[in-house]
């Protein structure tokens, strides 16, 4: 009883002391000058206390789970909110009037069976920007270069509700040169224009950074492969020797690609290894500079492939792990109990993202993964079916060789 009372008093003291600007400043400061893991944990608990107090939907959820906020002493005890919640509830702090710069981002709504789009209002885009840029600098631009930029996804002015668009725009602002192109609109990408821009960079010897969804990369690679095939056929007809190297775009050393989104929007999804292989073949990119990003609308921080370019890790492309920024902690949870699984076991990925300070930080994703050293191996969306029937055997018949 005495202990409980002490805990409550400490908790109330913490809550009282956590004024809005203090917690925002603390988080921003942590992102700009990452501290120790202990510092992270202490700040995470303060952020949790703040969110219980100021995000009514989260407070109701924590109460419905029967969790006493004051009794939460470790980050892994903080109740995780399913990303599905962003479809149904207002996940933002009501402690303040939304600033004029507040942004509303919507999920792409591609999840099967979910017509609703998730909504994430980011009250403090400066924290989101600090998080995005901070980790981009470490993972995509550790060499400190500014590069020509091409976006194969609409930038923020073309798709303001897309968090990816916003991130791409910030990336261009921070790391780009005057040479830039956005060849995508809501309707699709102009592959011809992309190829023209990339050929221009190749001719000028200007290293370029390609920012794209994996689906857009697939379209670009397909177009380049198609044009290679056509040209090879034409060259053969003319009796000359075709050379594949001469048909690909030979981008200058230091060029790089950030792709994201995985299987989303693709009928025959490219694997990470295929993206790296095709980027190398079609664009002359060093596979270590082909880097996949993992992020989501509901989260202000991202994870990137660890490669020899940005880390001391050198796993084969297909087995890469993703590295989180120091202000994001990863968990793998048992989907039944929502407790952390043993190291190396597969489960549902969850993250505590300090950069989500003004909404909800502890997020439960719908993706499978496993913790691997300091990184996370993302295994993709769990394959689940809505309907059950006599349906579990036929695939083996369908897949039989012709």
């Amino acid at each position: 009883m005495v202990c409980d009372t002490v805990v409550v008093i400490i908790y109330e003291a913490v809550v009282e002391s956590v004024s809005l600007m203090t917690i925002l400043d603390e988080v921003l400061d942590f992102i700009q000058r990452p501290g120790s893991r202990e510092g992270f944990d202490a700040l995470a608990l303060r952020v949790f206390a703040y969110q219980v107090d100021h995000v009514p939907a989260y407070r109701s959820y924590v109460a419905a789970l029967g969790v006493e906020p004051a009794a939460v002493r470790r980050v892994d005890q903080i109740p995780a909110v399913s990303t599905l919640a962003f479809k149904y509830a207002q996940m933002e702090s009501l402690a303040e009037t939304p600033a004029t710069q507040a942004r509303l981002f919507l999920t792409s709504g591609t999840t099967i069976g979910m017509a609703e789009r998730g909504r994430h209002r980011v009250l403090h885009p400066e924290i989101y920007r600090a998080s995005a840029i901070g980790h981009l600098r470490r993972m995509m631009f550790p060499d400190g270069r500014r590069l020509a930029m091409i976006a194969l996804h609409p930038t923020a002015e073309r798709m303001p509700e897309s968090s990816l668009s916003q991130m791409i725009s910030w990336c261009i602002e921070e790391f780009g040169t005057a040479e830039l192109a956005c060849v995508a609109t809501r309707e699709g990408i102009d592959v011809a224009k992309a190829i023209e821009f990339l050929r221009g960079c190749a001719r000028a010897g200007a290293p370029v950074c390609i920012l794209a969804t994996t689906a857009a990369c697939a379209k670009l690679f397909a177009a380049l492969t198609e044009s290679s095939t056509e040209r090879t056929s034409r060259t053969r007809l003319l009796g000359a020797r075709g050379s594949r190297a001469s048909l690909a775009i030979v981008l200058p050393a230091g060029s790089r690609l950030m792709d994201t989104g995985g299987a989303k929007g693709q009928t025959a999804p490219l694997s990470a290894a295929e993206v790296a292989e095709q980027a190398s073949r079609c664009l002359n990119l060093d596979p270590a500079l082909v880097i996949n990003e993992y992020g989501m609308t509901e989260m202000c921080s991202q994870l990137y492939d660890a490669t020899p370019f940005n880390s001391d890790r050198s796993e084969p492309t297909a087995a890469r792990v993703k590295l989180p920024p120091p202000w994001l902690k990863s968990f793998v949870l048992d989907p039944g109990s929502l407790r952390p699984v043993a190291d190396g076991e597969i489960g549902l990925l969850a993250f505590f993202d300090l950069a989500n300070v003004a909404s909800v930080s502890m997020l439960l994703t719908e993706d499978l993964g496993v913790i691997d050293g300091g990184g996370v191996r993302i295994l993709g969306r769990a394959a689940t079916g809505d309907a059950r029937g006599c349906a579990l055997a036929i695939a083996e018949f369908a897949n039989r060789p012709p």
């Binding site: 149904y88 499978l368 309907a387 059950r388 006599c390 349906a391 055997a393 036929i394 369908a398």
Partner: protein, 438 residues
């Protein structure tokens, strides 16, 4: 018994331990079964008697064979044996007179039919296998790697009961990656009966036209049983009387047995609404019944596969967050792996991930029910229906018409949903029509 006969018989024994055969063993089985087909067929009375005797053994937990089978499957899956009531699977084939009467509706044919069985529950496909054998066919059964036991035991029992009938069945088990075996089987059988989802079956259209045995008088040589769903409709009268508690228990039991892995398990319950709260109250009572079953006679599986647990988690989280902001949704849940009830006032028919997950919605009149059932029209296997003598004849006639429009192949009281009769037109009846065609 020739050497090939022995190999076929032995393969059935091996299959209970999931040892995959070699391709030449599948060919040997085909050779042996074609030899059997070429000989005189046993009288239909003998075939019916052998099937009935076999199903009486397998369908009884009191019988050593039935007990051994259900215990082995339950242990393999980590389920309670009581949640696998094989008596329901076998009951339609346990009464000689009925089975014989059904057999006499079939046209005699000497064909070799290959079955690709599902993994979702033991005995799924028994109707088709029994009907094929009753019609005079021989069958090769490829069981799923996850459930190799039921049909291996079926074949063994059939051979013990009547060697001549038992010689008409060969059972193998192999995994989906062993496409050479599936291809060999498909090439050697006159017809293939496969169980799977509709998208996959659509992909198989080319296979219908080529590569499956001999030309066949225009009859389909491939029959696919796609994914189907089932539900329950109860009228306001049915929950208004003395039978309310028993009905809640019945529905909870139907949701619990087989863990909703079969196409006959209910996923959505529609309740005739009167005062705006009756359905929600009834949902709470079903939740309580599910909890009693889970803590008592029908404990849930020891653990769930990751994808199943995630699917249930997804249903729960969506319902939980909707319930926090909408009065029209409520969630009741047992500790996973357990049970899940989602009351959703406005929902149309919703298929669930199984493992005791039930959506419950009211309907306000037959037209409203029709609107809610419309999304699954043509994909409904069974509809359990409970009404009361207090319901008017006109109202029931309207409901009957609405439910009939779903195309359900089996409409019955809720407690009979998962034990359809021998002449059940599973999946719309294509296979049965084929066995009856000249």
């Amino acid at each position: 018994m020739c050497a090939r006969d022995r190999r076929v018989r032995e393969s059935a024994t091996l299959n209970s331990t999931s040892v995959a055969p070699q391709v030449d063993e599948v060919f040997a089985a085909e050779f042996s079964l074609r030899a059997v087909l070429a000989a005189n067929a046993p009288p239909v009375e003998c075939v019916a008697a052998a099937i009935v005797a076999t199903c009486c053994q397998l369908g009884s937990i009191e019988h050593p064979r039935g007990c051994a089978a259900v215990t082995a499957i339950a242990a393999r899956w980590g389920w309670s044996a009581l949640s696998l009531p094989l008596d329901r699977v076998c009951a339609p084939w346990s009464e000689f007179d009925r089975v014989l009467a059904f057999a006499r509706t079939l046209r005699a044919r000497r064909e070799l039919i290959g079955f690709i069985m599902p993994a979702n529950l033991p005995g799924a496909g028994l109707h088709e296998v029994a009907a094929a054998i009753l019609a005079g066919c021989a069958v090769i059964i490829k069981t799923a790697a996850a459930e190799p036991i039921f049909f291996a035991e079926f074949a063994r029992a059939l051979a013990e009961v009547d060697a001549a009938v038992g010689a008409r069945i060969a059972v193998f088990s192999w995994g989906r990656k062993q496409t050479d075996l599936t291809k060999a089987m498909s090439a050697r059988c006159d017809r293939i009966v496969a169980f799977g989802d509709d998208g996959t079956i659509a992909q198989l259209e080319p296979a219908r036209a080529s590569g499956l045995g001999q030309p066949d008088r225009g009859l389909s040589r491939f029959v696919g049983f796609g994914a189907r769903v089932s539900g329950i409709v109860v009228t306001a009268g049915a929950i208004g009387g003395a039978g309310r508690d028993a009905l809640a228990e019945t529905i909870a039991k139907e949701v619990s047995v087989f863990e909703q892995r079969g196409c006959l398990s209910p996923h959505h319950l529609f309740v005739g609404e009167t005062d705006g709260l009756a359905t929600r109250d009834f949902a709470e009572e079903i939740a309580a019944a599910l909890e009693r079953l889970a803590r008592g006679p029908l404990p849930p599986p020891r653990a769930l596969a990751l994808e199943d647990a995630i699917a249930i988690r997804r249903v729960r989280e969506a319902a939980r967050w909707r319930a926090l902001s909408e009065q029209s949704v409520r969630l009741w849940e047992g500790a996973l792996p357990g049970w899940t009830i989602v009351y959703d006032r406005d929902a149309a028919f919703t298929g669930g991930p199984g493992f005791r997950t039930l959506t419950i919605s009211p309907f306000f009149d037959p037209a409203d029910l029709a609107r809610r059932l419309a999304p699954v029209t043509g994909r409904v296997e069974a509809m359990g229906v409970k009404f009361s003598t207090a319901d008017s004849r006109d109202y029931l006639a309207e409901l009957r018409e609405v439910i009939g429009r779903t195309g359900a192949s089996w409409i019955c009281e809720p407690e009979r949903m998962q034990s359809p009769p021998a002449d059940w037109p599973h999946g719309g009846g294509e296979f049965l029509r084929m066995l009856r065609a000249s």
